[in-house]
Structure formats: C-alpha cells, structure tokens
Amino acid sequence: MLKISHLTKIFFKGTPNENVALRDINLEVASGDFITIIGSNGAGKTTLLNLISGVYLPDKGKIEINGKNVSNLPEHKRAKFIGRVFQDPLQGTASSLTIEENLAIASLKGQKKRLRFAVTRKKREEFKEKLRALGLGLENRLQERVGLLSGGQRQALTILMATLSKPDLLLLDEHTASLDPKTAQKIILLTEEIVAHHKLTTLMVTHNMEEALKFGNRTIMMHEGEIVLDIKGEERERMSVKDLLDKFSEVRKERLVEDKMLLV
C-alpha cells in the first residue's frame, strides 16, 4: 500500500553543511502493517515521515500510496490519505479553536470547504460519541478552547483527529515522547486500540525499544539515513530488547553513548 523506492533527501545540498538525511531508502509496507521505527537522533526517521507526508519533496526516488505516485504532490493534497501525530502536543491542534472546531476541521479532511457552518448539531453528536470513547471526559468540554487542555489530552485529541477520516496511512512521530510516563502509557494503549479498530496501516517512530517490539508487527531500525534492520514475524518475536540493543551497537560499531537509547 505504501511503496518507497530509492528515496534520497539531502539537506543544504552543495554547501559545507551538506547533510544526507536519507540514502536510497527502499521500503514496502503492506496494507494493515503496523511498523515501529527506531534509530538514534539524526538517523532520518522524522525526515522519512516528513517526506511521506510531503513536508519536503525528495531529491531522488519515488513514493507511492495505493499505487498512486505522490512524490511531487504538495502536503495538503496528500493529507487526505495520511493522518499524522507529532511529538509536540501543541503541533497537532489549533489552540485558539475549540475542541469541536478542531474536530470539525479533521472531519472535513480532503473535502472541499464550503460556506456553511462547520459544526452542525449532527456533527456535534458524532464528536461527543467519539470523545466519550477516549474516556477523558472531553465529551463535556466541546466548546472549550484546546489551549486549555493538558498535553496528554491534546495528544489524545490529535490521535482522534488524525484517524477521524480513516486515513490510508497513519504516521506517528514519537507522539508519546513529551508526555509523562503514565500519560504516555495511556496514549500508546489508546493508539493501539484505534489502530486495531480501524485496521490502519501505521508507521510509528519511537525511542522506546520495549515499545518498538511490543507494538506492531514489524520493526525497522535506521542509521545515518539507511534502513539497517527490518524484522518481522518469528524473528521479531524472538528478539528481546537486549538483542535489539546489541544489534544497534553492532551497527554503530561503537558503544552506545546516547542516554536516550538506553531508556527502556
């Protein structure tokens, strides 16, 4: 359903700061796959997601979603296939708009915006129901500004928004990294539930090795712009966090210096 071939992205090309963020990446994602992506900082994980969603255009290579070449499609035109949740809870919602207004925008994804009221009574009922399922009590706060919500609540709302129109592809970029451990746990379980419920094809970047193995059906490891490990099925099931870390050291051929990578 997602096919990436020979994808290359170079930042600051032709300057002393030239940085090859992605190097000839090939990746084929089957429909319903839930792939977790790990790798140290600067490995190209976020760049990969940004290229898929069209924030940047590639220097080389092709991205196909459901057989359609989207490589040069602008971000807002790809959005109807793609749901996204960012690391920063502030990024996925508009804080001066109310909860129902944010949801209304999400519900109109990929549709032509018209000159009619965005929040109708029918929609409000629908939003209420969806919010109730989150179990955060947000269904009673539809007309409150999103800026008043906590980070966890905003992130839960963003996940709901990203999946409201059942996208072909869900991209999660360390979406629990800036939350406290308890909230992060809640959000990751909520994510799993929603992904399973809609059978969404998902790519999830995470720094948490345990999470990377526990969730999803396939794990890829990136390093310096390349995919260095791609495991699924039995091989993945046998893999422990320690094995993964060993693999990781092997790839880097050096000791892990990064504290963040040791957080399990």
Partner: protein, 302 residues
C-alpha cells in the same frame, strides 16, 4: 454642544470600527501583520469619490470600494504566498503601489464630495430621509446598524468551514496543512476580506467628511491596531464574537480619545497636526504596558 461632540465621535468611531474589523481579521485571526491598510483605506475613498462624482449612487459606489479593497488584499496575499515575500514587506509593497494607483484613480490628490458642488453622498441621502427622529441621531444610529450587521457577518463567516480554516491557518499552519488545507488559499481569502472591509470604511469616511484625499490612509493601520488592542483590554474573552465586539468598542474608545485630544488638547499645547504622534504614543504605551508593569513589579519585589 457636548452631545453633538459625542454624537460626532460616535459616528467616526463606527466608521473606524469597520476598519478595525478588517484589521482584526489580519492581525488577530490570520496572525498576518498587514500594512496594505494604509493603501486600501484611501483606495476605498478614491473609488467611492470618483464614482460619486461621475454620478453613481453612493451606496453602489461603496460596493466598488469594497471590491477594490479586496483586490488590494489579494495582491498582498499573492506577493506573500506565491512570490514568498515576507508579510510585512508584501503589505508595504502593495501600500506604496496603491499610493500611485490612488492618484491615478482620482486624477489629482483630492476630490471634494461637497453637496454645494451637487454631489450626493450616503450622508446627504440619509439626511433627506423623512423620519420622526432628527438626522443627527438617525445617522449615528444607521452607522451603528451597519457596523453590527458587518460584525455579525464576520462572526458567521468565521464559523463556516472556510472561516475555520482561516482561523486555524493563523493559529497553527503546520497542523492545518496536515489536515489537508491549502494555507495559501486561506490567506488569500482572509486578506481580501480584511481589505474589503478597510476600503469600505475608507469609502464611507470619504463620504462622511465630504472629500477623498490621497494622504488619508497614513497611519490607518496603527489606528486600526490601536482599536483592536484597546478593545481587547476592554472586552476580555477569546471567542470570535467577543473579539469582534472588542474591535468595535476599541475603535469607538480610540476615536473618542482622539476627538477629546483635538477638542481640549490645545490647553496643553497640542495641535491637530500632532495627531499621528499622539496615536503612535498611544499604541507604544498600550503595547509596552504589560512588559513595563511586570518589570516594575520585579523591581519592587527585589
């Protein structure tokens, strides 16, 4: 005497409120510091004046004022979204271009709409209406109704699907693009709507004061901004309805303050030509007040 002073200030305040609604849309909703205003305000005046002199109905002339303003806003938005010029510069470029365009439209720097020359404006038509109440009450009342209708329209618009995308564009561009909205389009719509309101205000004001002048736009963006900021401190609340109300209240209070300065200011050596200076000082005071207050507080505590 005092009553007529208040009524006149109110009239001017209501006309300024239309401009303030426009400025609210760019500054507060779109988060776009749009300096086009200094050009689109006299543009509205120029278009209305020329059309009236040529014999057009003064109400229809206002429609063309608004249309011209909308086009000016589109130009600024085009410079910014398609040619990637920064918002401030895009606005200034349109503004400076409009100075020449306004002179072209008028053919000279100043057009009189005096009734002694036989020109009919919105004001002369309203004065002729036969009503049990006197025209000096009737005119501010009509202005008030016009402002409230426009406010209501802006409120309604900002709650439509298109309006929501404009608000979200000003709030979080990244998010709204991820939601599949073309932010360029949102800016084009927002800027043209804003400048249509500004030009409408200019067209009405020219008719109200009986002339259009190429220099009447100088500092209007600051006047509009002052109104929005003053209004925000008087009408607290973050909903669209309260913020548009704030812009209107702010415009009236601002206009009243200016009128008082003009009327009694000479006691303190103030001259009418000091008006823009006074406006600048007012805005500086309002903008710096929160920072200075916090600083004083810190000093007191230490």
């Amino acid at each position: 005497m005092l009553l007529s002073f208040v009524l006149h200030s109110l009239e001017e305040g209501f006309l300024f409120a239309i401009l303030a609604l426009g400025v609210y849309i760019t500054f507060r909703v779109l988060n776009f510091p749009d300096l086009t205003v200094d050009g689109s305000y006299p543009l509205g005046a120029a278009v209305a004046a020329v059309l009236i002199v040529r014999g057009m109905n003064p109400f229809s002339a206002l429609l063309f004022s608004a249309l011209a303003g909308g086009l000016a806003g589109l130009l600024t938005a085009f410079l910014h979204t398609k040619l990637k010029i920064t918002p401030l510069l895009a606005g200034i470029l349109t503004m400076i271009a409009l100075y020449s365009i306004n002179l072209r439209i008028m053919g000279r720097p100043n057009i009189s709409l005096s009734e002694y020359l036989g020109h009919r404006t919105v004001i002369t038509i309203l004065r002729e209406v036969n009503l049990p109440i006197r025209s000096e009450y009737f005119i501010p009342l009509i202005f008030f109704v016009i402002v409230m209708v426009l406010k209501e329209l802006v409120d309604l618009f900002l709650h439509t699907e298109i309006g929501l995308t404009i608000r979200a564009t000003g709030d979080n561009e990244q998010m709204i693009r991820a939601e599949g909205v073309n932010t360029d389009t949102a800016k084009l719509i927002g800027l043209s709507l804003s400048n249509a309101l500004v030009a409408l205000s200019g067209g009405l004001f020219a008719q109200y004061q009986g002339f259009a002048d190429v220099g009447m736009g100088i500092g209007m963006i600051i006047a509009g901004l002052a109104s929005v900021i003053v209004g925000q401190s008087l009408v607290r609340g973050r909903t669209v309805e309260l913020m548009t109300l704030g812009a209107i209240v702010g415009a009236i209070v601002y206009r009243l303050a200016i009128a008082m300065a003009l009327k009694w200011g000479y006691n303190f050596g103030f001259r009418p030509t000091d008006l823009k200076l006074l406006t600048a000082l007012l805005v500086i005071t309002i903008l710096s007040f929160p920072y200075l207050r916090a600083k004083v507080k810190r000093l007191e505590e230490s």
